[in-house]
Amino acid sequence: MLKLFETEILSLDKLTDEQTAIKVKDFSVWLNNSLVLNKIDMRIPKNKITAMIGQSGCGKSTLLSSFNRMNELNQKYAFSGEVELDGRNIYNKKENVAKLRTRVGMVFQRPNPFPMSIYENVCFGLRIQGKTERRMLDDIVETSLRNAALWDEVKGRLFDSALLLSGGQQQRLVIARALALKPEILLLDEPTSALDPLTTLHIEELINQLKKTTTVVIVTHNMQQAARVSDYAVFLHQGELIEYSDSDSLFTMPAKKQTEDYITGRYG
């Protein structure tokens, strides 16, 4: 029964609130006074991997960073609509943004480890939350690094500078850093675009492991990657949501002409 449930592809139209991680309602974004996202409506299922695809500038990264309000760091940012987490609009005035970001982790295109030791990098979020008990930190660092498949490579040099790691290791460290906060949702913004194929494979395996406990939303330009990794896929074009369905159908028999053109490489 359980196995059946795991492999079952839920119908996106009939997602219950319990099965939904993020509910996007009529959400539009303007950056520098130009419309970037136009009235997006979608539900992202819990503990699944959802891929976002589309041309550069189609608004997928903007949509991704709307889920933890990282957009606001841009100047001249305006929005309308709602994004709900557990039935709560995260754009309400009283939302604690810092707290929100500990629940919704994010990993960026380029690895951005802090200029500190590997250990301190993983602890960063915890320390900010005022957690300083050494034994607990040690445990969390080890678990996070194991979950990010980095533990074996760095266990002997936890207190060396994180800047000495290779690009792939740095990216896994950054993922471990996000995992240390045990986020409910993990947003990945082209996490493998700067990495070599083998490291990319490592990270894809890692993402697959993560979905047991975490909802993953991944932006990628790599169609194969999106097809390999994701359970669901959404195709955006010029700020519009064109098609959203389970990956199997989207990549094998897209409903819309535009989607088909994009995934077969006829434009973009």
């Binding site: 810092a98 951005n112 800047l163």
Partner: protein, 511 residues
Amino acid sequence: MRKFSGSEKQTISSFASGLSAAILLIVLISLVLFIVLKGSAYFWPSQVFKMITYDTPNTEVSVFVPSSIDIDEFNQALSNKLNAQFSNSTLPMPLMVVEKVDAVYQISLHSGAIQYGKFQQINTPNRERYQLAALNDVVADVAIFQNQLHDIQTNYLTVLHRKIALLNQSGVGEKAPARLKELEQFTFWQQKAEALRQKLASYHLIFIDASGQPFDVLVKDINHLFQPNVMSLFDKVLYSGNKIIEFVSESPKQASTSGGVFPALFGTVLMVLLMAVIVAPFGAMAAIYLHEYAPNNMTTSVIRICVSNMAGVPSVVYGVFGLGFFVYTLGGSIDALLFSDALPSPTFGTPGLFWAALTMALLTLPVVIVSTEEGLRRVPEGLRAGSYALGATKVETIWKTVLPVASPGIMTGVILAIARAAGEVAPLILVGAVKFAPSLPVDGEFPFLHLERQFMHLGVFIYDGAFHNQTNTEGSSMMFASCMLLLIIVFILNLFAIIVRNKLRDRYVRI
């Protein structure tokens, strides 16, 4: 005019730029070399020549003159000077003869004065010893007497004086037996001290000056006695070493023409450190506000331009501002509020160390702001985003990730500020640096660091020394030595700051 071809233009432009770089390098090197050569001459013992001038056929005037050059060069320089003065004049050229006299002694006194003369004899009260070989014994005797005198003064006279002062305070009568007893004691020790002083005054050396006249030098006044013209190289090196130690550890003597520059050295370093402590946090905060918080609009740009322009304001303007605002207005208010007992004599309402450090901090603030902002600009956006994405607030992001990465930029600003403040003169004269300060700004008295005191500064000391230049050759060579010291101080302070900056860079910036 013929046109140059493309490749010729290339050659000319590369040659011209190379030439200007070479000229710049030569100028820099010669500046440092000049200062170092002139400055180190101060520490090397100078030779002494006897210069005899025959004004009229029958009168001759002789003097001993110290010189750092040898006798041929000296003669050459002298004849050049005479030629220049007298070749176009109707006056007859005076006859001058320069000779090197080996037997001449240089007598350096404790007061800093220097005399030259040939040794004749030692006079002691018991008239036993006459020869120079006995000088060491005489000096030992004198030292014993001086210790006794010192002992009497500190252990008896001062104590008795205090006791009598206490009696005066408590209103004990003129003829009270306690007072009479103390007075009697006081007179007794005073007489003893007087006897010792007389004894000391009877130990003296007799020298003969250049024109053959004898003169007295008290043994107790002599600091160092040696024959500069017959010194061995080892002795000269030893002498230089002592002189260097004296230079950096003693106070100036003889109106800043001899002795050391320790108070100026100490004042410079203390003022610069105080300034760095004030300017670094202020400059960094201002830069953080401008870069991280201020909205990116017209007002911010105007503020930025103002900050850059502040760096170009003449330093004497800052001095005047420091005097008018910090010293008179702020200092005056502090006096009125906290030190009203001491008024009308001012405590903080007068130029002093703190106001100087504050003025210099203000003067170097733009430099620190600009280079900190430069450092902040170099912090990758990814780091900020990474920090925010882990739930850090803006303050936490700035303190934990942005500032460490920008810290080399802050240090660069502090380095520039230090170099500027250590060499500044004009504003310092207005707000607290003096030609001679009777006491250091740090001593054993509470609160140990006396921010209100005036202090000495190497730059001001050099400026002051430059005025001795026309009349006194010793003064000018001390000025060069101070210049050299100032260069070394700035170099050491910069080196220290650069090492710190590189450490920070290794630690926080991507390799």
